[in-house]
Symmetry: C2
């Protein structure tokens, strides 16, 4: 039997999905599992997108252009213009979700062994794409007590070596919910410019900004126009995760051509998903207003609820729909599994993502979990109740840390 | 401006799509371009698949399981059983087209620098996936005068080194239309077993067998159950190229687990495409009978027509919907471009794929082109007329080779 590759062996399992078998077993026992582990919103997909699918009048489901339908790319360019991002349809390649944009971008930008700095905690799948492309992820720690703000320039520069070729940010942030300020982004721009790095900006949560916070795209930063790669997706924007439609956006012609060749090799992005995504461009503003209002309420229920539990701390995020919470526990993997295997409260339990998967060194996330507030308010209230209860009966509860106590004061 | 990667620079442009700008210019001049360059059939997608899309009754377009919907995988396993391929739904991962199955398979099986033997001419995009995974493609020449049959074992063994880790076949073949015989496959099995290699079998044209020819899947070969990877796709089977639904199938548990982790990183295959593909499993046999009958007629018009042109030779394929023809020309790239730039016959011209893109050494394909007979019969008749005419006026016409003349005798 031939051996699989080192990459195949090293590929990390998804921290979001690895507990699925335990959740399935819990459901078989009759326990209702509240899924806070995955960013799969229950928000309805816009009717205008679903109608485009229901009204399909094609006889042959053909390939599209490898870069995606031109009409959709033109529509996307208009959408970006409304968000102060000036690009043409010839600077956009439609991809199989944001995932493919990340993988193609890494393959086209980096040699095996090149280093990519990513502020952590970060979206766990960045590790997988980096591993596939042979890229070395260099984490830059951000701290829960600072609300996961971007560290000072000196901390970036301390990590830069001759192999450093890029920085990757997620803004608004998954898992932190952080929206970077103008000042943070300008510092980042200076580093990118001074060291001539690629800057990958994963902005798939662009629409999800709360409390009057405004999102600033990396594509608007002056002086690094050739360095920035925008990674985008319709998954969260229109609650259409299954459409698998994303975008790779760059003004760098060499890079665009290289990624287009990768896109040609896989022929085309999905036709149905593109039809839905193009139609979704006409989603009325009210849809987003309603969604934002809903998420603010959900966030407040979850985050305020968490912070009211003794020993828990959770900075209140103003973007995306995740939060990272620090819990008074010994090990978040053990705790999350225990919740599914050995706990229930009034017939319910909670599934969360251990934060160990969001740090390069898993041990860093041992007392943290990521929660997605993508479910209706009653369920979130129930989830907080479950957690409060669980933290009184879990055998691995430890005393809250000093930092945590002071933060709660 | 940061430099892109070596892979990004080396990635080959698609031989199928690189002439697109010339075709667009021809169309702007009012010339009708007959597209024989790309395997995009005009055959209608089964109604049962389109109906599943039109009758969509979901409110949220969610992710599916990373391996694809279980119901679809169970249905696929039943479909395979009908084709003598015994696998369970837990040996199938639904992918973004056959393309993703190839890329994930190469990443999970091979170290950078490992060697993969591919009989040539071969589907050009194999080069791109190999390059992305850092795999070295080792071509094994097959000959037009032998109908592109698989070379003897000794020719394989002459190419095997300590870095050889796999063999990739396409059966029925793109671009050759070749269906491998039982004898050819058993020889291949022995090589795979004796050298403990991975065998990638791209069988996306399984349904397209003519003249009573039967397709034998590599999955049925005894003694190499842990070595075989089946690459599949609904693109051609149901004329649903844009659905972007393929499959990675293996009985090797280690390999399955590694590819599943890659699949988890990109979250899920497309939901709409899977709904259409699952419904398409109920496509009546008559649909396939009609399609096969149509393709046989198309093939005969094209291949017989080509062979009737002085100096042209084209083995009649009994599978897929491509053929490779040898033409009395100096350079197939120049000729194919000239057809689009400088030629028209009664308002028409022909677009073909130069075979240079289907050989590891482009020069090998300088007198060959690949043609896809995926258009209605009148257009194919017209295409043959155009080619006959073009071969009297193209400035680079050369005398037919000896081999070619003898073959026509």
């Amino acid at each position: 039997m031939p051996a699989i590759s080192l990459k195949g062996r090293q590929m990390p399992p998804s921290p979001i999905r690895k507990l699925v078998p335990f959740a399935e077993a819990a459901k078989k026992r009759g326990t209702k599992v509240i899924h806070l582990n995955i960013g799969q919103p229950d928000i309805h997909t816009p009717e205008v997108a679903l109608d485009a699918i229901r009204n399909l009048d094609r006889k042959v489901i053909e390939y599209s252009h490898s870069a995606g339908y031109e009409s959709y790319r033109r529509g996307l360019a208009d959408y970006y213009a409304e968000h102060a991002i000036e690009v043409t349809h010839e600077q956009i390649i439609v991809t199989n979700g944001g995932s493919e944009a990340l993988l193609f971008g890494m393959l086209a930008c980096f040699e095996p062994g090149d280093e990519l700095i990513i502020p952590e905690p970060f979206y766990a799948n960045y590790n997988s794409f980096a591993l596939a492309a042979g890229v070395k992820v260099v984490p830059l720690r951000t701290k829960i007590e600072d609300g996961f703000s971007l560290p000072p320039v000196a901390e970036f520069e301390a990590l830069i070596t001759t192999r450093t070729k890029g920085i990757l940010i997620c803004n608004p942030g998954n898992p932190t919910g952080r929206i970077y300020t103008k000042g943070e982004l300008e510092r980042l721009r200076d580093i990118v410019r001074d060291h001539d790095l690629f800057l990958f900006a994963d902005e798939v949560y662009r629409e999800f900004c709360y409390d009057g916070e405004e999102h600033i795209s990396a594509m608007t930063l002056k002086g690094i126009e050739q360095n920035v790669i925008l990674v985008d997706s319709v998954s969260k924007r229109y609650s259409m995760c299954g459409a698998r439609v994303g975008a790779f956006v760059t003004r760098n012609t060499d890079l665009y051509e290289a990624v287009l060749k990768l896109a040609q090799a896989r022929l085309s992005p999905p036709t149905f998903g593109q039809l839905a995504s193009e139609a979704a461009l006409a989603t009325p503003q009210r849809y987003f207003d309603d969604v934002i209002a809903e998420y603010v309420q959900r966030r407040d229920i979850l985050v305020d609820g968490l912070n009211a539990i003794p020993g828990v701390r959770c900075p209140k995020p103003n973007g995306a729909f995740y939060c990272v919470a620090e819990l008074p526990i010994d090990d978040s993997d053990t705790f999350c599994q225990w919740l599914l295997e050995s706990f229930e409260h009034e017939g319910h339990t909670v599934m969360m993502a251990p934060a160990t998967g969001f740090y390069a060194e898993p041990v860093t996330g041992k007392q943290q979990v990521r929660l997605a507030y993508v479910l209706e308010q009653d369920l979130l209230t129930k989830a907080v109740e479950c957690l409060r209860k669980a933290l009184t009966s879990y055998p691995g509860v430890i005393a809250p840390t000093e930092a945590s106590s002071s933060n709660k004061a």
